[in-house]
Assembly symmetry: C2
Homo-oligomer: 198 residues x 2
């Protein structure tokens, strides 16, 4: 058997490089050469990992998409001490909204991809799927809050989830655009969730 290489690891590494570049200087700054340099591999290696540039970008999106979902799931799973559903919901949403400073890069990447979704069919598909997953998550959280009687039972979980997700994404945009600081955005979110609990 000839030389073998851990492609999965390299792909991830390249995806990280893509994110770093997008976050630092926008999406147009992502050229194969730049990515290769950032990931500290040769251009040939990048071309071997991904057939085209679009494939590479798509993989990067799926990567951060997955990371965001995972983080949210973990936060919920890690609730060993029985936490108030209210704070669980607001914290999860804050996570999804990528508000903290270190998520700023991911938010930047995310938005860049959304901006390109109308252009690329495949990209749109990934986004659609991710949003559906997140929506389900939020619906579940609201239901949980209703079980613990923190949220009134007459709430329409599906509708509320739509609104909550919209608020979260809107705040992501606002923070990125400089209209909000992460703190004020977080406060807005918190307030909205508290309101649900009446």
């Amino acid at each position: 058997m000839p030389k073998q290489v851990d492609y999965e690891e390299r792909r991830l590494r390249i995806a990280e490089a893509v994110c770093a570049l997008v976050a630092r200087s926008g999406m147009e700054a992502v050229s194969l050469r730049d990515v290769a340099a950032e990931a500290d591999v040769s251009m040939g290696a990048v071309q071997r990992c991904f057939r085209t540039k679009e494939d590479m970008l798509l993989f990067a999106l799926e990567h951060i998409s997955q990371r965001v979902s995972e983080r949210a799931d973990q936060r919920i799973a890690a609730t060993s001490t029985p936490q108030a559903a209210t704070t669980l919901l607001s914290h999860t949403l804050a996570e999804l909204a990528l508000l903290d400073e270190e998520s700023r890069a991911q938010a930047h990447v995310w938005l860049a991809f959304v901006g390109h979704a109308p252009t690329s069919e495949r990209l749109a598909a990934v986004l659609h799927e991710t949003y559906a997953k997140l929506h389900d998550l939020v619906v579940w959280l609201i239901g949980y809050g209703q079980d613990t009687q923190e949220f009134p039972p007459h709430l329409d979980a599906v509708q509320e989830a739509h609104t909550l997700l919209a608020v979260a994404d809107g705040l992501t945009v606002h923070v990125l655009a400089g209209h909000h600081s992460p703190e004020t955005a977080s406060a807005v979110l918190q307030r909205h969730v508290d309101r649900l609990a009446r």
Copy 2:
């Protein structure tokens, strides 16, 4: 006096071309040549109107930014028949959220620019200013609703405006990403406004 040309008109025309291109095939598709072709002028003309490409894009952003604001203002000013503050607010927000199909292009452009805001100082400034203006507008609308006693007086107009703007922008993103149709997005918005009126 030599040949004179209506620069303002040409600038607007070019700005429209930029928007059309961005909407059609994303922001990377905007090259000086493409813009010139789309606007049906020569490349030299474009270069005469705008010193650099960045200037051109910035002007295009300011253009649509202004158009959106104007449309919202007009909708309010045109309220000859005394309209319910509730519907006035929700319609205005729907307008701002660029939900209808023909605003899709503008939404696309807007988002593209937001995505580039962290990169460009000047771009961020324009966005910041616009958001501030919109916020003031929504605050005023809520206050108006309180005057007509449609909204409870204890509402914190500033905070509610923040949430409303976030919902609107979030929905813009969701529609663009294919997570919502304009109709469902509009319904979510409507629901949220109705909720304010208790």
